[in-house]
Symmetry: C2
Subunit: 239 residues, 2 copies
């Protein structure tokens, strides 16, 4: 699973890394980056791999280099809610806590740059800029969680599905700040349902509605083309 441990010298892998630019590593100067790079390992996992277990002490943190990670909360009776999706170059983990209240699972194949708890914690103590980056991401995730609270609490099934597609089309490509017209949904219908607080069948029906209305087209269950963005935005009722 582990592909590479950085050599003692310059962190050459970091040069091409998204986390270096927009992610938390952008807060680090060259020496700190080398220090982190030496102790970090890049690994690639399959879809479905559990990355963080809720309620269990996490051994470390990671940056997402590519792929999509879903954050999941579970009820004792088995119901589950996806409380967030994370994309490259997001930081993965819960600072200041021994264990996370959510579990994280790779939704697609995911490449990670992982490092031990102690390293990051020691570096945040030394580097206010790093703490600031982490803080900024926490606030972004908070804004996003609240957007989803609105969707979960107030929107109808069709509005939920339309909002979900627009959200994905905006976030799926880290290099494109706008909306993507064509993309793959990195989730199964069951996951979409768990994200939107719906059932598989309702999700499927709403996708069929959008397809029959000529707003989107779907091939091979996962690959979506948005044919009419205006109609999709109207259906989503964005705020």
């Amino acid at each position: 699973m582990r592909l590479h441990i950085h050599s003692l010298d310059a962190p050459s892998l970091c040069l091409a890394c998204d986390a270096r630019q927009q992610g938390i590593c952008g807060a680090l100067d060259a020496p700190d980056l080398r220090h982190l790079g030496r102790q970090s390992g890049c690994r690639e996992v399959d879809a479905g791999t559990e990355l963080i277990a809720a309620g269990v002490r996490a051994e470390g943190y990671a940056n997402i280099l590519s792929g999509v990670v879903k954050l999941i909360k579970l009820l004792p009776d088995g119901r589950q809610q996806i409380v967030g999706l994370q994309f490259a170059p997001d930081f993965l983990g819960r600072p200041f806590a021994d264990c996370s209240a959510v579990s994280a699972e790779a939704a697609s194949p995911v490449r990670l740059c992982a490092f031990p708890r102690a390293v990051l914690e020691e570096m945040t103590r030394r580097s206010p800029r790093l703490e600031q980056r982490l803080h900024a991401q926490a606030l972004r995730e908070l804004d996003e969680a609240r957007d989803w609270m609105m969707i979960l609490g107030q929107k109808s099934a069709s509005e939920k599905v339309a909002s979900f597609l627009l959200h994905l089309s905006k976030r799926i490509d880290p290099y494109n700040p706008g909306y993507a017209a064509c993309f793959d949904i990195p989730l199964r219908r069951a996951d979409i349902a768990d994200f939107l607080g719906l059932t598989i069948e309702t999700v499927s029906r709403q996708l069929s509605h959008l397809r029959k209305a000529g707003i989107i087209s779907i091939s091979r269950n996962r690959s979506v083309s948005v044919l009419d963005f205006t109609a999709l935005e109207t259906a989503a009722i964005l705020d």
Copy 2:
């Protein structure tokens, strides 16, 4: 409305203040506290007062000294979702952003300790401990928002109302780390409905169910006594 501007000397008001202990001011040393104290003003507002307007540049930040603040998101068609409740000694405001995506409104009479944007921003640049406190609160709010996502997406009306009462009984008294058996609901039925993604009528019916089952008693619409905590926890299906 404005009651007091701190004098130039020692911030005597801070000594009895919750924010000094558990809030963000706990991160400040005496000189910084004096500096902040000099530029902060304490004010008391009525229930219903808008404290932060969504999408408008906020002039400052504040600590909640007492009372309850609701955070609200609005859809263009008028539907609204309450995305959070804040209690003393929480910090109020959105660091790193010109304007907040949510609006804040006093749910009960609220006492605030307010200070200008620039003062806080300058102090966070100087004091990593302050930034860390703000970061920690953001993470707490994120955990809470995700708890609510679970409730909004997966739980039934009766589970939602039971969860809401338990949440309030835990948070209503900043001095008591456990659950309060007796407390006032700081929200109208309409607000509870907007929080839980239900209608007024459904909230009312579920409260009546809990009352008739002998799990709670309600007087004067607002004041709740929990008679059977175990039953309420069972009804809420906490995770």
